[in-house]
Symmetry: D2
Subunit: 423 residues, 4 copies
């Protein structure tokens, strides 16, 4: 009789049916509190306020990406690429942990709590921490993650314009938001991948699948990631956290979890994260610390803080305008005055009740790190060069839009805008 | 030109594609904070600890059930059943709000915070509250909800063994858990429904669809709703809340949101809910109050409380045993002693670190409130009588199982069990 | 660089996404005209007259079953079952070819053209023929198919109550008919399979998946395989072929393909199939020979033949009655007289314009060849014994129904029936 | 009690779940032999030789398009567009019958059997024939079909660059081929449609859905409709039919159905179709006439005819080359000589064993008949002008490719090609 698979080692996934946990080390990494934390961090932050189905977590995504990595490597082996069991496991670990450094609400909170640090650096520190806990068994995974391993395609599967991270999150975000146009043929892409000159490449007959993947990515940007209302909600949360930081740093008492308190009171550098206290506290921070704090702060005497809490809890979001042209200074001063009047607050405090900036859509960045096509004659070409498809070139164009958002009960004369509102 | 539909009035749903919000009143009800609260209450409580995809909310479910109600009523109209626009809207409101009285984590929290009150009674109070806010526009919805409206089938669509609540939640829970065997043919059931003698009935040719529905329901009970580990996690949360109540009521300080504090400190009756303060505070309570508290309490000096918080946060769950035979008293005393020794706590306090009881699976309850089949000859028969299908009768049998759960680091001699472990 | 996979070796499948052809031998078997013939034989015969989506072929099914065999074997290997590359390939070949002996319209035509031969015997002859063409490379596949190979679980995966044949066809038939209640969780069953004492077994935690599988099978029988109208259409085709045989054997000229002519003119035994001429002609017969003949015969001077052709082409099907009680002789004589009068034909010829008989639903046959559960303690139990689920026992009951079908323009007094019409 | 819906009036569809037949007239049209014929004509001709799942029929598609028409009209009514029950039914009839004039294998056979007639003209004649059979009840449907009805958007829903024909066939072809990248969000497009100035328009917020629709259309052209091997198979069938015509018109006897015989022996004009004999015989022609003939002709003494029959039956297809540059005359003469030598046939007869020509991909044709966007300010703009999306313009570019195909056992020196092989 074959040994019975431990039932904990198969996890249901609405998208792939099952995700198998391939061995003890990965099982134990998943069990670790640093990873379990990802159960409580939504993949798309506040986007479920717009697409109520979009409640999937970084935990779901990380497992899905690990699953896809396995599928890709199985497929490469079928094509004769030699992959050792060690490389196989290390690649799965690298992708499993690639996002472990994300904080709650991802970008919104990183911007305020860790303004000088990117989440990849923190992922790397977590991985090193786990590596020492697990007796250096993550050495190869760390090399792949850092791109110091000589077989470059492993790193490209973890981090590139066609990595298993993107393959999973595009499909998953599309599935949960219900934006069916964003769906990509992941299975087909998986079988079209190959390796040439140690580079990850796409076989020529897969060119339409890649084009569809890039189109979907661009569409998901406009429909989901940069959705007007999602941008607006995110900016409110940024302002809310900034207000909390401001109050705490001004000496006001603000109840919240110990971990959150630590990060609101300090502005840590990457160097600081090498201290156990800092990384361990970050490893306890998830969406619940924020929502828990919002629940506590909704009755706080600071009018600005409690207003923002109430607005987020009751989904009373800023209205937002998107334009092709930059927002003019006079418009910004205008809105600042309106808010100051409306809420009877100082002009400097009004900044917490509106936001402006730029969002951009980079579906595909042509150039050195591009997606390579392997032609039938065995040559490598970047996809933008390999095809006579005008679309790919169109997709390489970066599109930027400017936004201004502010409370619904504040009005702004349309005439102050240069350029039309966009979608 | 037709008037443009306000874009907010169409909501993406991963299951149905779109849910349309049919008019202003329902739109405004959805916008109300009482309903927005449901965004933050997961439909299946802690079940996502077992099925990580099961993160859908009562908000998702309520919208889905409203959508199905519309589909059923459209279909009945096609069959010649006269349904006024007022009845149509009232039925949709009744199902939309049928679960609005659920607290965070549903059953687990009701058992501890509101031991003498069922959530339907609170839903009813919320609906009355909304009715006065909306100038009595919910009168008919309230009649349908209470079953005082003369056309009984409307109530049966809101609450019966074949209501739109069950149709949506079975399908939705199956979709998000990934338990594909639980899937039901909702579309087919919808077109098989009819009305006879003011009763909701199923046309005879739909009998296999109903049988499948009941089979799925039974299967979802064992696979999901009564999943061993889900029962275990829920019991831990119940114990955690009970410990918090005990500490607060013993005069210990426990930080948490004001709303949660109120319910931990008091044991309210249904009568109390008629006070604005009580219902409004309940209307602010969601999963985040609990998770926020767990985050705060994980460092609390009470060993039992902080232990339970840690265990839930890190998914270190009680192990659980299910048996056909009742758990014997000696076994329970045995485990109490083990825990008391292991944690160095009093025997009376050990009760917070284990749990025992009974779970039961009632897929279909035959009898007066059963599902009626309309035969081709126009007669009504209860499904268990209408068919020569042995399965339906088998499904009517209530199955009970006994559970005992306790920390993994506590051991219990197998010999103390009478009867075998079950699945 | 890995060798590029020949693009022909990946075949799109609407259900599994992709079916990979694992090697040259299997590729060449699929290319062989004997196998290509399956492209032109619908899996469900005339059932697309009722479920218009049910147009999938035996070609689709055979590839799907081969794909599932690979998934099962991969999974067993993960559980530590040793499977050699030769066993792996042979199992895939055995399931790929298990239905290669089916004739056009499967059961309907076998009953008339090959009354004394079952299709498994012909599949075996085809496999032997292919074995000699392919230099004995199918030896092991033949052993597995015949159940003479010592490791019995391979044969059980090809032919048993839980074989990959059933797993694929239930899912596929459900997908294409659109009978969503019939859907089964194939992925879950695949991971629940194991091998114990060289027997195929299901791990105990998979018991609900198997129950669902058996329920679905039973439901598909009533909803699809034994659907009243499908039975009616099949009986018409049987009568049509019988009439053609009768005419040819009476010396009438009937145009049709040479292969069909051969089988209409002769009544071959299994012995005859050992002649190259017979097996090669059978290997050219597909649905198109029959439809092509129907097209030619619709203008044939024999009124009975041309009537049946017209009726099938224009979907003017016999009406059908199903009862629990056997059809009485007087009823049959009654209908014979009515038809003889209505069509002005001899009473003996009337038999070509109606049909009666018995259909039965054997969802699960308990006993020696049953489905075995591997309990957590390592014991094997048949599923009907392993569980306290009343459903499984209910499913083991064979249900028989009697049918009588005849042209719509013939009437039969209801009083002549004993017992009620059934669904 | 509501009247029970006749069960025949609901048809399972794997894509939409159910297609409801909305009334008696449409039910009777579907029952008519002209329409039942579509059950036997595959939507994608020989494409199932490449994508074995692509076996769906024009019957499936026509019902699906009718279903979508209903959904679109329901949605327009919700937006306040007044649509009478007569217009509703007529639109459904017009789309149901829009393809009724297609012959077997669609384009391949039209090219040979009806070289001077397009299928829309024949659809129109069939509709007129049905109109007289059904007492002028199709008058309004005919007006909408012909675009003589004053409310132009009805015709646009039947025939335009965003009609319900395309919406159904793109989704259906994608579903059955398994080319998941081609999937379109039909539900979303349906709710984005509106009517302005009696024109069908798309609301501005639907612009990404339309872009996705056009991208999918383009992709399906390259992946499916113009797939190399599908083009090759189609050209073989064209040659086969041309050879049969040539033989019959030379006085050779060729067995086949009476209807096919008629069309092989004559070259009818649209005028001829006004004769009952011609249209009725065309109304009996389906894929089975062709496959039945191929079965008969595979043993025909004419070597070219029997060779082509064998090749198609055994899927021994022409190899094909696609280039951006036109095929040079010398290449063609070269291949003609090779074939003449290889098969020992006359140079003039060699033309039946190869083929060359041009295929083109017109995903979107910008200009007067384009897709119109309704901006938020109420203006109409063609989609290529309405957006700053570079993709739409790219999609408007017509791409042409040249092909040359010939038997696999004939070789052609690569040097004779100008330009590279394409995908």
């Amino acid at each position: 009789m074959g040994q019975s698979i431990n039932k904990k080692k198969i996890i249901n996934d609405p998208i792939y049916g099952f995700v198998s946990i391939p061995g003890e080390l990965i099982f134990d990494l998943i069990q670790h509190p640093f990873f379990q934390r990802l159960r409580h961090i939504k993949q798309l932050g506040l986007t479920d306020l717009i697409y109520p189905g979009a409640i999937h977590t970084r935990f779901n995504h990380a497992l899905g990406a690990m699953h896809l990595m396995g599928k890709v490597l199985d497929n490469l082996r079928l094509k004769g690429i030699d992959i050792t069991p060690q490389e196989y496991e290390a690649s799965q670990i690298a992708i499993l942990l690639h996002d472990i450094g994300h904080g709650p609400f991802s970008h919104a909170l990183e911007e305020t709590l860790l303004p000088q640090i990117n989440h990849e650096s923190i992922s790397f520190l977590f991985m090193k921490e786990l590596n020492s806990l697990f007796n250096d068994q993550l050495n190869l995974a760390l090399q792949i993650f850092q791109n110091t391993y000589q077989r470059k395609f492993f790193h490209q599967l973890v981090s590139s314009q066609l990595d298993t991270d993107r393959l999973d999150y595009l499909r998953r975000d599309c599935f949960y938001t219900g934006v069916s146009e964003g769906s990509i043929g992941v299975e087909r892409i998986v079988v079209m991948l190959n390796v040439s000159q140690d580079q990850l490449v796409v076989e020529e007959k897969g060119i339409y699948s890649i084009e569809n993947f890039l189109n979907s990515r661009r569409l998901m940007y406009w429909q989901v990631y940069l959705h007007k209302t999602a941008v607006s909600a995110e900016r409110m949360l940024v302002n809310l956290i900034r207000r909390a930081q401001y109050l705490i740093q001004s000496g006001e008492a603000l109840l919240c979890s110990a971990s959150l308190q630590l990060f609101l009171s300090n502005s840590f550098t990457l160097e600081d994260f090498k201290r156990k206290e800092v990384i361990n506290n970050f490893g306890q921070l998830d969406d619940n610390d924020i929502w828990g704090a919002i629940k506590l702060w909704q009755n706080h005497p600071d009018q600005i803080l409690s207003t923002l809490c109430h607005m987020l809890l009751h989904r009373n979001l800023f209205k937002i305008r998107l334009t092709n042209e930059p927002i003019e200074k006079t418009t910004i001063e205008n809105i600042r005055s309106e808010i100051s009047d409306r809420y009877q607050i100082l002009r400097k405090d009004a900044a917490f009740l509106f936001s402006h900036g730029v969002v951009s859509n980079e579906a595909y960045v042509s150039g050195g790190q591009g997606i390579n096509i392997l032609t039938k004659r065995g040559e490598l070409k970047e996809i933008a060069d390999a095809s006579d498809l005008p679309n790919i070139k169109a997709l390489s164009k970066i599109v930027k839009k400017n936004y201004l958002c502010y409370p619904k009960n504040v009005s702004l004369k349309r005439s102050t805008f240069r350029g039309a509102d966009l979608l």
